[in-house]
Structure formats: structure tokens, C-alpha cells
Subunit: 315 residues, 2 copies
């Protein structure tokens, strides 16, 4: 899906596991350059086509979420914006979704490890089968992309920050332009955590985690204020799944987190009743194609969070 020949390739061996403004850049690129990144998956290859749920506990947690890079953008200074045109993705054909104990929106309700492996056709739009229960369309993107924070030290890769990082925004797909605030000279951009598909929220904590290559084009907007990442996406973001509408559950509470948890719990119950799906399967399927939306955030003291599951995946 890459649309032009990149000037550089950054190989997957050049990766790191946290954010720091002291990392040595792999390469310096100029504004206007197009760069291909070879990305590892979020398990750093520890989950393979022969892995089982029992293997999850044996994974080395220090190898979670490697990102390829960093690269230095020539002329980038604090207060500039890094403009990133997302050209395209070359997925690998293998992916996984896991319930990792202690992680995820309903971690208290799902204490046991679970693992679903996906094998998909690359180069087609064919949806991926989730057993005989559903079929999930692919929509590749990178979960983690960001620049180095100004604050010194080594910062965990897990939480996103105003400079990006583990954003897990499912609409950062091919054709989209992302704008990140720059905090250090040279920006120091890295990318990884590539996903074949994910819903808004990534509710079980993992998407369809899948190794792939990504091509990006960089530019700078000099001395432009930006509080948080923003992006422009040129086309519908739900057209690949919304043809038959949605099943929607809600949660209503004075706390958005509590409301979100109720909405997702309600969907897990509903998928069990409508489709006979097991709870952890419904939870993982919700994570890869269900969307958390805030329906109402003004009618104090109760807010409404809704969880939208596309009906087309069951056809």
C-alpha cells in the first residue's frame, strides 16, 4: 500500500523500549523525506503462531512494545509541529489478541489469560474470521508513534503523552495526516505497536497486534502552538464496518470510567445472549471492532457512554 519509494528504511533491529531525549538517533532525515519503518509487534515477537494463553505469563515484560527509531528531523525545534503523512502499511499476515491479566478496562472481571491468533490475507480487503463467530475487516495502523518528551529520564512506553506515544487511535490509518507537538531539538520520532484492526477504546488492552512495515512522510510547521496531537483523516472512518448499523449498549454514571465499564460489560452480556459467545471471546472481539463513544457529557450529574458493535461482522 506504500505510495512512493521511501528515501530511507529504518530496520527493526534499531528499536527501543521507552522514551528518552538522550537516545542516539538512528538517522537524520530532512523535512519532505519519506521513510519506511520496519516495526516489530507489541510482544517483540514473543507471541508466535504456536503460542498459547499459558505462554503469556512467560513473556519478558521488559520487551513489551518496542518502537523502531528514533530518527532525528533536521531543523526541528521545541515549539514546532511534526507533520506526519501516513502513506501506508505492509502487514505481515499474522496477528494476536490477548487478555493479559491485570491489564484492560475490565481486568477485575477477566483474571485469566486468553489468546486468540489471527491469520489473514495480505493485499486484500477480506475480513478476518474470528473462529466461526464473526468476521473482522482489516484497517491497519500504528498504535504507538511519538517524539521524545522534554522531561529527562527514561519514560515508560505504556502511557501516551502530549507528544504522542501509545495513542492507540484506530483512525491513524493510511491517508491520514498526524500533527505532534515537538519538545526537543530534532524531535526524535519512533513508531511501533502496529495493529491490523482495533475499536475505539481498545477495551481488552490489545488490538489485532501484528508486525508490519509503515511508510511515513515528515514535514515541519515552525513555531506553531499545539497542546495535544491532532489529525486529519480524508475519508469515512467507519465505512468498512457500518453497513448494517450497530448493536449499542450504554452505561450511565457520574464517572465516565464507570459508565464505560458498564457499557462494555453490557455488550459482553449481549453478545453472549445474541450469539452464544463466551465472555472472554466477546471481550476480545469488542476490543478489535467495538467503539466507545461519549453520547452525553453535560446533563449533570450523569454522563452516558455508549459502546457500538458493528452488526456487519456477524453476517
Amino acid at each position: 500500500m506504500c505510495t512512493a519509494t521511501p528515501s530511507y528504511t529504518i530496520h527493526a533491529r534499531d528499536h527501543h523500549f521507552g522514551w528518552s531525549n538522550r537516545l542516539e538517533p538512528v538517522r537524520t532525515v530532512a523535512p519532505g523525506d519519506r521513510v519506511e519503518f520496519r516495526c516489530r509487534d507489541a510482544s517483540d515477537g514473543q507471541i508466535t503462531p504456536v503460542s498459547t494463553a499459558a505462554d503469556l505469563a512467560r513473556n519478558d515484560p521488559d520487551r513489551v512494545n518496542p518502537v523502531t527509531g528514533p530518527i532525528r528531523i533536521d531543523g526541528a525545534e521545541p515549539g514546532d509541529i511534526l507533520k506526519i503523512e501516513i502513506d501506508g502499511f505492509t502487514p505481515s499476515g499474522f496477528g494476536w489478541t490477548a487478555n493479559i491479566p491485570g491489564f484492560g478496562l475490565l481486568a477485575d472481571q477477566f483474571p485469566d489469560p486468553a489468546l486468540h491468533l489471527w491469520h489473514y490475507q495480505t493485499g486484500t480487503d477480506a475480513p478476518m474470521a474470528f473462529g466461526d463467530m464473526a468476521r473482522v475487516p482489516l484497517r491497519p495502523f500504528a498504535g504507538t508513534l511519538g517524539v521524545a518528551p522534554a522531561a529527562n529520564g527514561c519514560h515508560s512506553i505504556i502511557p501516551p503523552r502530549r507528544v504522542g506515544g501509545n495513542l492507540d487511535i484506530r483512525d491513524l490509518t493510511a491517508g491520514t495526516t498526524l500533527y505532534l507537538p515537538i519538545e526537543v531539538s530534532g524531535a526524535l520520532f519512533s513508531i511501533g505497536d502496529t495493529h491490523a484492526a482495533q475499536g475505539d477504546g481498545e477495551v481488552c488492552g490489545t488490538a489485532i497486534e501484528s508486525r508490519m512495515d509503515v511508510t511515513l512522510r515528515f514535514d515541519l510547521l515552525k513555531a506553531t502552538p499545539l497542546a495535544f496531537p491532532r489529525f486529519t483523516t480524508p475519508a469515512p472512518v467507519t465505512g468498512h464496518v457500518d453497513s448494517n448499523g450497530y448493536e449499542v449498549t450504554t452505561g450511565i454514571a457520574p464517572d465516565l470510567m464507570e459508565a464505560a465499564r458498564s457499557a462494555v460489560s453490557g455488550m459482553i452480556d449481549l453478545l453472549g445472549r445474541l450469539h452464544g459467545m463466551g465472555a472472554v471471546e466477546a471481550y476480545m472481539l469488542s476490543s478489535v471492532c467495538g467503539d466507545l463513544r461519549i453520547s452525553e457529557i453535560v446533563d449533570a450529574p450523569n454522563w452516558v457512554v455508549a459502546f457500538y458493535m458493528p452488526r456487519s461482522i456477524f453476517n
Copy 2:
């Protein structure tokens, strides 16, 4: 847009301003009956085509958000579900959007009253002009629909509850089926707060508030557990606005409310820079067609809330 002749019409004079299980039903209907409701607007007609922002302070707050009803559903008992097929809406052609001091997601940043009046063509899909700045497609729904709570007393109409009420879910449009948990014998259903269009969140606190008539068909699912309202919508929910994609701003914080506020603030700034729009105009436009989504709710301690503004409204 009504699809069948209703068995009954509930007139707007039969309305109330709060929820109570002691209200005398206007009428008893049977499962399977189709009922037309004539609904007042959320100001109870106090805002008219000649109103100005200065008039907002003179409105009687005891007349906010009248709902037409209640009707009793024959045979409904606590623990049943009220199934509501939303047949259609007959909008009036006039609407308003207001920034009401003290109300809304960014009430602290917008202390002054503002009012935008809308005049739209009924019976067409023509988008409504927002001055010369944007054009907003119509998508009518009822912001408030619910049944009486089991708890005795008179409960404010403002917050939604597990029995529904002021849900402000923009996708409860014609063709959708809503399921509400019933807490009292006879259910005691009422509806109002009709909106010509709204985005997810209703961020400034008001939608395109507009008087209209609504036709619904009722049914009962006996003795079926349901924690919160849910609904099934048979078709895409963003197809009317998403053809050109979105401008998206984000907020990233350990608190979803703080993240949502940052995302909406970022959009107001962006609309000012891209389109020269005044801040309160951008805030009101965001409320009627921008969508709050939770992109990521698992990468502790920071969550990502994104605000999606459809680009098509500016074409």
C-alpha cells in the same frame, strides 16, 4: 416520515417537568400499539424566532425540558423491558442552539449567553446553514425518553438514569429500536427534548433544539434483565456527514473528563485558525455535529479522548 397510522395521539398539553412514579397516566396503550407524541421543545416554547441571547436569562427555569406523557403500557411490570421502535419524526422547521451560562462541558470558559437560531426545510435532507460558516445535515431524534424510576419522589429531568430520560444519544433516530429497563408497574413512558441534529457529547449543553412530533411503537419483553438502556440501529450512523473524513483533536490525561475538555478546547482553537470562526460559534457548532470518542482507555495512567468534526460541513 411516519410509517404507519398511530393508534393514539398524545398532545403536547399533556406534559410534565420531572420524573415520578406517582404521575397519572394520560392513556393506557397495549403492547403492539403505535403512538404519536406531540413534543414541545426543551425551552417549552420560551425561545422563539425573535429571541436574543439576552432573553435566555429571562427564561423560567422551572419550564425546562417538558416531556409529553406519561403513558401506561398495559401489562408492564418491574423487571420487564420496554421495547420502543422509533418510527419517525415530523420536525417543525425552527430550532435553536444556546450557550447557557453555567451549563455545558466548558462552562467555565464560556460565561456569557449565546444563541443561534436555525430555520430549516422540513421534508428534505438539505443541510441547514450555520451562517456562512458551515452547513449541518439534519438527523432528528428525541433527547429525552424514558420510564418512571422506582424510587419515590419527583426527580429532576436533567440527568439520565438507567430507566432512560435525558439520554441525549444522537443515534436514537428513525428506524432504531430502543430497549429500556422497566422499574414500575405500567412503565409510565414519556418523551420530549426533540433535536434536529446533535453530535456525540452535546458538548455546549444544547443541540439543535426543535419542536417536533414523534411516532413510536411499543412492545414488552417480559422478565428480561437489562442493566442500562441499549439500542439497535439498522444503518450507518455517520454516513450523512463523513464523506470527507474528519478534523480530529485529542486530549490525553488520567481523567476522561479532563481529556474530553482538552479535546473540545483544541477543536475550538482549530476552527478559529482554519475557518476564522469565533470561539462561542465554534463551541455551538461542535455541539451540533462534533463527536466525542474514547480512543484508548487501557494504557494507564493516561487515556485518549478524541473529538471528531466532519469536514463535509465546510464544503
